[in-house]
């Protein structure tokens, strides 16, 4: 194949949670610029398999930018240089001959399982603490029964785009999970269905966030830059305000 790219990859290898881990250098050649980043790693893994070496463990599921599984730190950028997920990133975003450093998300709340795979269950536990609404399941209620003003609906939809990928935590100098949490608080808080549990929700989610060992937000904005869904930093402002209101009016 002509026009293929040759790349040097420095990839984090770690046998398991308790292994110290190290960066290992690999060469790949003849990579099509139209491949996705994960397909490029698939090519490398096939080479490793053929040589009888342990393939590189990395996460993915949908490969269409909606599940949030595939996050990688690519040369210091969460999900790489484009505003998208790693699975939707293409090799044409890199230069032929480039050296690319690939690391897992780094946060003590996201421990490494193996190589590039981290455990993001801390996010699930934050959701379990309050990021839901309690409704009876069954037949869907009549859609027009609970009117939502357009601006609130728009903001809720925007916040609901969060796919829980963890790039915000990975990019944050404090390893805080505030953009993720702010997205959930805003998504549910803007809608009528989210009101009954609104004040309890924010207090419980923040307590869980802190207990998981995430850092504290200092509003640097690195999260928004890294977020593949462009969740704006103002959702954190909403979280802060809801938290203050909950603490002062509802006794925590």
């Amino acid at each position: 194949m002509s026009g293929g790219m040759n790349l040097t990859l420095r990839i984090w290898r770690q046998d398991g949670p308790s292994d110290r881990g190290h960066l290992k250098t690999y060469e790949v050649s003849d990579i099509s610029p139209d491949m996705s980043f994960l397909e490029m790693l698939d090519v490398l893994n096939e080479q490793l398999n053929a040589k009888g070496e342990e393939p590189i463990a990395f996460d993915s599921d949908c490969r269409e930018g909606i599940c949030g599984m595939c996050g990688l730190m690519i040369s210091g950028d969460a999900h790489g240089p484009e505003k998208t997920t790693t699975c939707q990133l293409h090799m044409r975003s890199f230069k032929n001959g480039e050296t690319i450093t690939i690391e897992p998300w780094r946060a003590d709340a996201f421990p490494v399982i193996k190589d590039l795979v981290v455990n993001r269950s801390a996010f699930d536990r934050i959701i379990q603490a309050g990021g839901f609404i309690s409704v009876n399941t069954g037949s869907a209620p009549e859609a027009n029964a609970a009117p939502v003003p357009k601006p609130k609906a728009d903001r809720a939809f925007q916040a609901a785009e969060c796919i829980g990928c963890g790039a915000c935590v990975a990019a944050c100098p404090n390893a805080a999970g505030m953009l993720f949490m702010g997205a959930k608080i805003t998504h549910l808080g803007e809608l009528p269905q989210g009101q009954p549990e609104r004040w309890m929700r924010v207090v419980k989610m923040v307590a869980q966030h802190d207990a998981e060992g995430f850092g504290g937000c200092t509003n640097t904005g690195a999260c928004t830059v890294a977020c593949p869904k462009g969740i704006p930093q103002d959702v954190i402002s909403t979280l802060n305000k809801d938290l203050r209101y909950a603490m002062t009016h509802h006794g925590g």
Partner: protein
């Protein structure tokens, strides 16, 4: 962090206004310094208001620095394994090391103009410095290295405020729309610019002989 920081901002603006009185001459400046002490009399004792502000400032400083160092150490333990390839030109580094520099500056500043008042300029006698705040300030800023040090501190303060003033509004929940967010950023830059320039005018005017 936000509340104590905003109290500093309020104080710093007031302080800047006072400093600019240097431009109006010795009577205006020394008169202002005197007024600060007699303000509110006889309801308040001599230096009453000044001491209220001082106590609030010290409490704010303790609260602000305590929160800052707590956030700093939480950040350290939230990511014990660092990235090999780092690309965060983060405002958190500027805030933290800048904040520490401001603390060192503040220590010198208080020794310089409040507590000890050393005669740094050999051309001006210690008695003159102790009897007139105006003479004290002018004597100090005739020294180029002192002006450079103060201007560096102001640059650090400007950087700290341009993030800090935005950050405080974000913390207080005043930025919940895209427009509110942009406004908060703009206010941050505006306050930072105003404070840096406003404070830099008196020392520079003295250095270049516009104020004697």
């Amino acid at each position: 962090m936000a509340v104590t920081g905003l109290f500093f901002v309020f104080y710093v603006l007031l302080h800047m206004y006072g400093n600019l009185k240097v431009l109006a001459g010795p009577e205006a400046f020394d008169g202002y310094a005197h007024h600060l002490r007699t303000f509110g009399e006889p309801m308040l004792p001599y230096e009453g208001l000044l001491w209220i502000i001082r106590v609030l400032l010290v409490l704010s400083l303790i609260g602000h620095a305590y929160s800052a160092f707590t956030l700093w150490s939480r950040a350290g333990s939230a990511r014990r394994t660092k990235y090999a390839a780092l690309k965060t030109a983060s405002s958190s580094k500027t805030m933290r090391w800048g904040g520490v520099f401001l603390l060192l500056f503040l220590t010198w500043h208080l020794i310089h103009f409040t507590i000890v008042k050393p005669a740094v300029n050999s051309g001006v006698a210690s008695d003159t410095i102790h009897s007139s705040p105006y003479a004290m300030v002018v004597a100090s800023f005739q020294l180029w290295w002192m002006v450079i040090f103060y201007v560096l501190a102001l640059a650090a303060l400007g950087l700290h405020l341009s993030h800090g003033v935005f950050s405080a509004q974000q913390t207080l929940g005043w930025t919940q729309t895209a427009a509110g967010y942009r406004r908060a950023k703009a206010i941050g830059h505006l306050v930072a610019g105003l404070v840096t320039i406003g404070f830099a005018i008196p020392p520079l005017s003295i250095l270049f002989g516009l104020v004697k």
